[in-house]
Amino acid sequence: MATEITTYGREEREIYEAPDFDSYYGSGRAQALVDRFEAMLAGADVCSFDVFDTVLLRDARSELERFADVAAEFVRRAGRAGHGQVPSVRTCLAARVLAASTAYQMSRPVKGCREGRFGDIVRNLVASLSLPEDPFAELWRASEFEIEAAQLRGSPFIENLVDLAVARGKTVIFISDMYLSAEEIARLVETCGMSLEKVSRIFSSADTVVNKRSGLVYDLVCGECGVEPGRILHLGDSLEGDFLAAKRRGLEAIHLPVPKALMRQRLDSHRRLMAELAGESPLPLPIAPPAL
């Protein structure tokens, strides 16, 4: 009698345990993932990629720290342009987080999904700072775009997978759960030095409202691309949105987790910022810490 034990998810585990993205994707171990991708690609017509932390890799800063950097940049630019008294970085940061929370809470639901949109967030935050929309909304947009782009970089590994898919005659699309529109995401991708020539379309929940987490965006994608769910291969970092929801919808999927060590650095960044922001008492900003 012979017993064979197969443990699944080796590649996922190796990425998760790696100290950072490059330690895995730059190593020879990544070839196993490429092989798996190619094998699965054979049964697909459409190859779909998540954007943030998949196509574009974020660094060790938390979302809160990124917003703090944006707020600082906004204050610096506003001061330099001589637009009068500008609120403090702390106030601007609070406005950004509160406006995002409001935009999400108050957005009009579509099939039970809600999503904030960057344009609405910026308008609302500028108004809540009692600043005129012109020129401050544009000033914020520019600051945030620049900081976002500076803290992102394209993933050569994913670029390679995109090339492979295109070479096999597959349609490549990007799908993102994000407050940025498809157009804004496209600008970011190109600013990070990646060509979009090979990408047929970008779907963003800022435009569709239905998202990956609910699985509903996959139905939309199937309809728009005219393919059966089983003919789409999707890759992304979110276990829930990019893998489980996609599988529940009948897609093929590969989960590319963010390395745990990187998530821990982001969590530390979040906590450090929260501690720095506390005044006489904690500043209860409605922003979730990165989950390990």
């Binding site: 017993t3 034990i5 443990t7 406005a95 509160l98 957005s107 809540s128 529940r248 008492s281 209860p284």
Partner: protein, 831 residues
């Protein structure tokens, strides 16, 4: 003592700042008309005007509205009868119909009007069916009454059209708590889109465009300070309530002058500095004025600090704080007059317990009723912080403190789910879905393919919406048997807990979450619970044409309320699917006994109970599936249950297990004693069963002899339902209805009635027990769709004038269950 404005000022400034942001957002999203609902809207708008200035950036206005006027509009043309009636009934309570009519018409009808007298003379209870009939009737009084609502409906429409000025989106602003006005108006005027922004929301019914600013909770939750206001929401109502009556009539409606006067009174009201609550409101306005330019991060930070203080005050108030925070007496609305005190006077002749139960701020009442040493404990209990379980906190070590942050793959809380399978892809696919749907994600699914086709298993794994890092396949090229397969699976991974999920069973999505929560709780650890069992449904099904056909489900072993070694020694009474246990006990036992082809789980359970306790969760969270219907593969082939298809094997191995256990030197001698006693119990049980069977056979013979001697048409036996016994369809219906009711959001008094009855559902065949269950639980047992009332009533004219003919909760169906069956009535069915 901190001044009340130092606590409430920052909180209410933050609420108004957030409200301003949210209104701006909604208006920017889609141009909207913002309507501040009277009465509270008047003061909310007043404060907002101070904060945001006279030109807030959105079009806002005061809206003369109340719940009763929204109800009147909804009743017109019966456009929104159900909701309007529901809100009315909630407000009026058990009231004679005539009083309700008078309340609706109080501003409209002249006191001497004979039509009003005719309506007031209706002394029957205010119910949906008779109210609808009244509104549809054609006598003069009814027509007049109906006309009033139709005019109200039309006037509200005109008024809304005027206010919104062509915009399709209306945003209502109010203190809260359910958004009844929004719900009513939305259903009555479906072409207008209503959103609502409220200070707080306290309602379990979802509503898409209802937005809470400060809190959204049904009660107080520790760790969420803002929910303290759910304990004393009247504090907020009181502060924003103007000294003016409710606007009960509609502008331009049947009482237009009164509506205008009521609105003017609200608009013109002046907070009275001599009133403690109004004085506090004025202080809040002054605070808003003084701090309106504060940066929003400072506003937020101060509000957060103040909310912590308010939480302490509202949950654990000191006697001297009660007058400042109780607010003014609550004014009645909905056509009624008068006030209800927030804090009951201590000299009202009632007991302290009664006063506390009637108080609108119970912790405040407790502070005045009891000495501080007693009050704190009572206050904690009344808001849910303290209960009988918490009383033992000192003994269980459940002392609170921060719980460590669990990592995604931490061993703590991890569960090995072992699924044994062999060539049953249809069932394995279902088991995979059951695992994938678990809300508790820290598990490892180990599939043991025990000699079956490996490729088929791999295909199912490939389809699984389960994190691949959490899957292990153990594949044997030939079968090693159930217990050895279990051991291979359990030992393939290292987790804190273990559960056997056979490929034919399934779970409720919350199963693991509840079980791990139970086993991880300090109280469970303190009591030595190393395993936990949930209630289970026994599902009857068959496999036909490659599909699983569900035939129904009944509670599995509903008499089980706990797990004792003695009961287990008599026989196994639960399935592995319902049992989660700690791996350390498994290791101590040495795993499942691999030489046993069956009953391995029974032996394991006895050994488990010889070492540790098994807790019990009173929820139906697992499904024990039996292919006990049909024939072919379903019952006897690869899809058979070991307990259905292999009954004789169980009998054969029963003494083997018992004797082995008695001889086992690793077990305490008491286990052998318990097994010996259990043997005697089994002998008695066997004798009783034989006697019962003989009695049943005798009854059947007597019955058939009696039937043979009585005249009447002969009906072929195979098409005839048995008479005098509860039919399976009714048993399923009653059991299903009561269990659904128990799981639903029942009032406590009804739950108290139902719960003891549920434990007796297995005795439904006994006419006396059945009668008791049906009588006491009739409110939870609806008539099945196929039960033909008319035929039954035609047959049983004796119940026409009795409560069984549609009064209260009793129905002809209940009569059939209580009397009809034992009277030998045939069950009438429709269609």
């Amino acid at each position: 003592m901190t001044k009340p404005v130092d606590v409430l000022g920052p909180i209410l400034l933050n609420w108004i700042a957030q409200l301003d942001r949210k209104l701006r957002f909604l208006d920017a999203r889609e141009e909207a008309k913002v309507l501040f609902c009277t009465r509270a809207g008047k003061r909310i708008k007043e404060q907002l005007d101070i904060y945001a200035g006279p030109e807030p950036g959105y079009d806002a206005e005061l809206f003369g509205i109340s719940r009763i006027s929204a109800v009147k509009a909804g009743l017109g043309y019966l456009r929104n009868f159900d909701q309007a009636f529901s809100v009315s009934q909630e407000s009026f309570g058990p009231t004679p119909m005539g009083d309700v009519c008078a309340a609706f018409l109080k501003n409209f009808a002249a006191g001497h009007d004979p039509r009003l007298h005719a309506l007031k003379a209706l002394r029957g209870e205010f119910r949906g069916d008779n109210f609808r009939v009244l509104l549809a009737a054609n006598d003069e009084a009814s027509r007049w009454f109906r006309d009033y609502f139709e005019k109200s409906h039309d006037a509200m429409r005109r008024h809304l059209d005027e206010l919104r000025g062509g915009r399709s989106h209306v945003v209502l602003v109010d203190t809260g708590w359910k958004g009844s006005i929004q719900r009513l108006l939305q259903s009555t005027y479906g072409d207008i889109r209503f959103s609502g922004v409220y200070f707080g929301v306290m309602d379990h019914a979802p509503m898409e465009e209802r937005h809470a600013v400060v809190f959204d909770a049904l009660g107080y939750h520790e760790g969420r300070p803002e929910t303290c206001l759910a304990v004393h929401r009247h504090l907020i109502e009181s502060l924003y309530e103007p000294a003016a009556p409710s606007v009960e009539e509609i502008a331009g409606g049947p009482c237009a002058d009164i509506a205008a006067r009521q609105l003017a009174a609200v608009l013109g009201e002046q907070p009275r500095a001599e009133d403690r609550s109004d004085a506090l409101y004025l202080d809040v306005l002054a605070y808003t004025e003084a701090h309106r330019s504060d940066p929003l991060d400072v506003i937020l930070e101060r509000a957060h600090a103040a909310m912590k203080e308010l939480e302490r005050i509202l949950i654990f108030p000191k006697p001297e704080e009660v007058p400042d925070y109780q607010g003014k007496p609550r004014s009645s609305d909905f056509g009624r007059e008068g006030f209800v005190p927030v804090i009951r006077p201590l000299d009202d002749g009632e007991t302290p317990e009664t006063r506390v139960s009637r108080s609108l701020w119970q912790p405040g009442q407790i502070a005045l009723e009891y000495p501080a040493s007693v009050a704190r404990d009572l206050q904690a209990r009344i808001v849910g912080l303290g209960n009988q379980a918490n009383y033992f906190t000192g003994y269980t070590g459940d002392g609170g403190g921060e719980t460590a942050e669990a990592e995604e793959f931490s061993r703590e809380g991890s569960v090995a789910i072992v699924t044994r399978t062999k060539d049953r892809p249809l069932l394995l696919e279902r088991a995979m879905r059951s695992v994938a749907d678990q809300t508790w994600r820290n598990y490892h699914w180990v599939i043991v393919n025990d000699g079956g086709n490996r490729e088929v298993v791999e295909e199912i794994i490939a389809r699984a919406p389960i994190d691949r890092r959490r899957i292990t396949l153990v594949s044997n090229d030939r079968s090693v048997g159930m217990e050895a397969a279990s051991n291979l699976g359990v030992r393939a991974v290292d987790t804190e807990f273990v559960v056997i999920h056979d490929d034919d069973d399934s779970w409720h999505p919350e199963f693991l979450s509840r079980c791990v929560g139970f086993l991880s709780s300090p109280s469970a650890r303190s009591a030595g619970f190393e395993g936990v069992l949930t209630r289970a449904w026994c599902v009857s099904e068959e496999i036909r044409d490659g599909k699983v056909i569900h035939h129904g489900q009944t509670p599995f072993q509903p008499w089980v309320n706990d797990v004792t070694l003695f009961q287990m020694a008599i026989g196994n009474f639960f399935a592995p699917i319902s049992f989660v246990y700690r791996r350390s006990v498994y290791d101590d036992i040495g795993g499942y006994h691999e030489k046993l082809p069956v009953l391995g789980d029974w032996r394991f359970n006895i050994e488990f109970l010889a070492r540790a306790n098994i807790g019990f969760i009173e929820e139906y969270l697992s499904y024990y599936h039996h292919r006990d219907v049909g024939n072919g593969n379903s019952v006897s082939g690869v899809y058979q249950n070991s307990v259905i298809g292999g009954r004789s094997v169980h009998a054969e191995y029963f003494p083997v297990v018992v004797n082995d256990l008695i001889r086992d030197g690793n077990l305490p001698p008491s286990v052998a004693t318990v097994l010996a006693q259990a043997h005697l119990v089994r002998i008695l049980e066997h004798r009783f069963n034989m006697t019962d069977q003989k009695l049943a056979a005798l009854e059947e013979r007597l019955g058939s002899q009696a039937a043979a001697s009585s005249p009447g048409p002969v009906v072929p036996a195979e098409t005839e339902e048995p008479l005098g016994v509860l039919l399976q369809t009714d048993r399923d219906h009653v059991v299903g209805a009561l269990l659904a009711a128990v799981r639903s959001d029942l009032p406590e008094d009804r739950r108290a009635v139902l719960e003891p009855l549920v434990a007796r559902l297995h005795q439904l065949d006994d006419p006396e027990t059945r009668a008791r269950i049906v009588r006491e639980a009739c409110f939870a047992i609806p008539s099945p769709a196929d039960f033909d009332h008319i035929s039954y009533l035609k047959k049983r004219t004796d119940i026409w004038a009795t409560p069984f003919n549609g009064f209260e909760d009793l129905k002809p169906y209940h009569h059939y269950l209580i009397h009809g069956i034992t009277d030998g009535e045939r069950r009438p069915t429709t269609g």
